[in-house]
């Protein structure tokens, strides 16, 4: 089956500066792909290239099997997008923005459905110049979701949204994906997409350094137990001497591995007459795992 979105050996330079190097990935229909990377990694450039907004220096892009280039946009008929920040005409209301871009037979019902999905009923008939950052962001997303697109590209969609709106947006995206819509969503904060994405594309300095599933990335995180004692200095010396894996930092953090770690550490400390005052379970940190991937590839 043809991938909904296929990017192959994409190259992009601005002057002498290479911004994207041999970027290749595919997103299957109905999947949610997260494009994650630090600021300036090239996320928006990839999205602009997919949308035929900027010329590329090599490689190919296709949406549902149809090629996309700066001078070939037919494949984008069924695509909705929000890039960088929402474009807002201050003289139009939210609803008028949607009417402006609404297409197809049942425009009114489609607009109502998007407004309802984004919970914008309260202010949709107010001029957009009075909107807050979050309201503008929701309107930008609503425009991307309009006309029942097959592929939706969202650049940092959680920007400016409160936690409740973020959760709601996740639900909307999941529901649309379950109905067959494909999503490519970028963020510089991986945890924002943790509960959403099927595939994670980690981008750094214009290169895809890792393409993996969210589950695999989660599996790569390590469990840490933070221990407090009445003599941390001696405790740390003992644990190091016993070759028990410790997390970096001043506090005592026991890395739980296949050999156990916590059990051995506690036995050792109690045997040495050190009082253990507290043991805390530190959740596996996805962000650290993401940074590890980025940094490890940089070292290579």
């Amino acid at each position: 089956m043809t991938a909904m979105l296929a990017v192959k050996d994409l190259q992009k330079s601005f002057g002498n500066k290479k911004v994207l190097q041999d970027v290749s990935f595919e997103v299957e229909r109905g999947h949610i792909a997260a494009l994650v990377g630090p600021n300036g990694a090239g996320k928006s450039t990839i999205m602009k290239s997919i949308l035929g907004l900027i010329p590329t220096n090599g490689g190919s892009l296709s949406v549902d099997g149809q090629p996309v280039r700066i001078n070939s946009h037919q494949a984008l008929e069924e695509v909705g997008a929000l890039i960088e920040y929402p474009g807002i005409y201050p003289f139009l209301t939210g609803r008028q923005h949607l009417e402006l871009f609404a297409d197809g037979k049942d425009k009114s019902a489609d607009i109502d459905s998007v407004v309802h999905a984004m919970e914008m009923e309260r202010y949709i008939n107010v001029k957009a110049k009075s909107y807050s950052l979050g309201m503008k962001q929701k309107l930008g997303i609503a425009q991307a979701l309009l006309n029942k697109p097959e592929l939706v590209i969202l650049d940092e969609p959680m920007n400016g949204l409160d936690p409740q709106a973020v959760k709601h947006l996740r639900d909307v995206i999941k529901e649309m994906a379950a109905n067959g819509t494909t999503f490519l969503i970028s963020s510089h904060i991986l945890s924002e997409l943790e509960k959403l994405a099927d595939t994670v594309l980690i981008l750094n300095k214009g290169v895809i350094v890792e393409q993996t599933s969210m589950q695999q990335l989660k599996d790569g995180t390590q469990t840490v137990f933070a221990i407090a004692t009445d003599d941390d200095v001696r405790a740390k010396k003992l644990l190091t001497a016993a070759d028990i894996a410790l997390a970096p930092g001043d506090a005592i953090g026991i890395l739980q591995d296949e050999r156990g770690g916590l059990d051995s550490a506690l036995r050792l400390l109690i045997g040495a007459d050190i009082h253990v005052l507290a043991v805390d379970h530190v959740e596996g940190d996805l962000e650290t795992s993401f940074l590890n991937v980025v940094n490890a590839k940089e070292v290579r």
């Binding site: 946009h73 695509v79 997008a81 890039i83 005409y89 003289f91």
Partner: protein, 256 residues
């Protein structure tokens, strides 16, 4: 393409400024008519009617602002991305904007001319539209020709304004440059006649074509422009297309 035209019209119709500008244009026409009626020594009734009660002059000012902002506003509001990523080409987006500008100009000219006629009938019934104004023309036929030629000259000026506006990311900067450009061109085209008298070839420059409207009103101007009225009409169209083409080239190359 039809969808793009609908979008451009939708934006134009929903801008409050569109309607305020129209109101100002009609208001100025009423004021000039009242002035001509109350102080005929200051403004002769026939001249007031033939000058459209300043309607065409105000229409040109409105159109300069409209043409300057139609592209610049998309960059200022950050709406250019959502306009360009869809299935349409940049050329289609550009052409839809140009068509709307042409359409708006024609509408304004028709409205101000119709309103001139209305004011004439109500306030100046004694002004005879069939009176001769020389060169075998009646007042009415002269006004129709005058408005048509002003509209053609306006298109040339607006193509220059659109070209300048593609260089700006702010509405206000584009509009200000449009107005400054208008006054500079007006002054330059008047001074041009002296230069043409010395160097014949200078007559082919685009600023000479901007005198087309004046030459239609005063055919004797051809002795100074060294161009027939027909050639100036053709030249205006050619230069309008050239400037619009350059504006498109800038728009196409512009990064988003």
């Amino acid at each position: 393409m039809l969808q793009l035209l609908k979008q451009e019209l939708y934006k134009l119709v929903h801008k409050t400024g569109t309607w305020i500008a129209l109101g100002v244009m009609l208001g100025v026409q009423v004021l000039i008519a009242i002035l001509a009626k109350g102080v005929p020594d200051f403004l002769d009734a026939t001249n007031a009617v033939s000058g459209n009660f300043m309607g065409s002059a105000i229409a040109l000012f409105i159109m300069i602002a409209s043409a300057a902002s139609i592209i610049a506003m998309e960059f200022q509001y950050g709406t250019i991305l959502q306009l360009l990523y869809r299935k349409y080409y940049r050329s289609q987006v550009f052409i839809s904007k140009i068509i709307v500008i042409i359409g708006q100009a024609i509408c304004l000219w028709v409205i101000q001319f119709a309103f001139t006629m209305l004011l004439k009938v109500i306030m100046f019934p004694k002004v005879d539209l069939s009176q001769s104004i020389g060169h075998g023309q009646t007042l009415l036929s002269g006004m129709v020709r005058g408005n048509a030629s002003e509209l053609l000259s306006a298109m040339l000026l607006l193509s220059i304004v659109v070209l300048l506006s593609t260089l700006f990311k702010s509405n206000a900067a584009a509009i200000t440059t449009g107005y400054i450009g208008y006054f500079v061109i007006q002054i330059a085209s008047s001074m041009l006649l002296l230069v043409i008298d010395r160097w014949e070839w200078v007559k082919w420059n685009p600023l000479t074509m901007l005198l087309f409207g004046q030459q239609v009103a005063s055919p004797d101007l051809s002795k100074l422009t060294h161009l027939s009225t027909g050639v100036m009409a053709g030249g205006s169209v050619v230069y309008t297309i050239i400037f619009a083409g350059i504006a498109y080239a800038f728009f196409r190359k512009r990064s988003v």
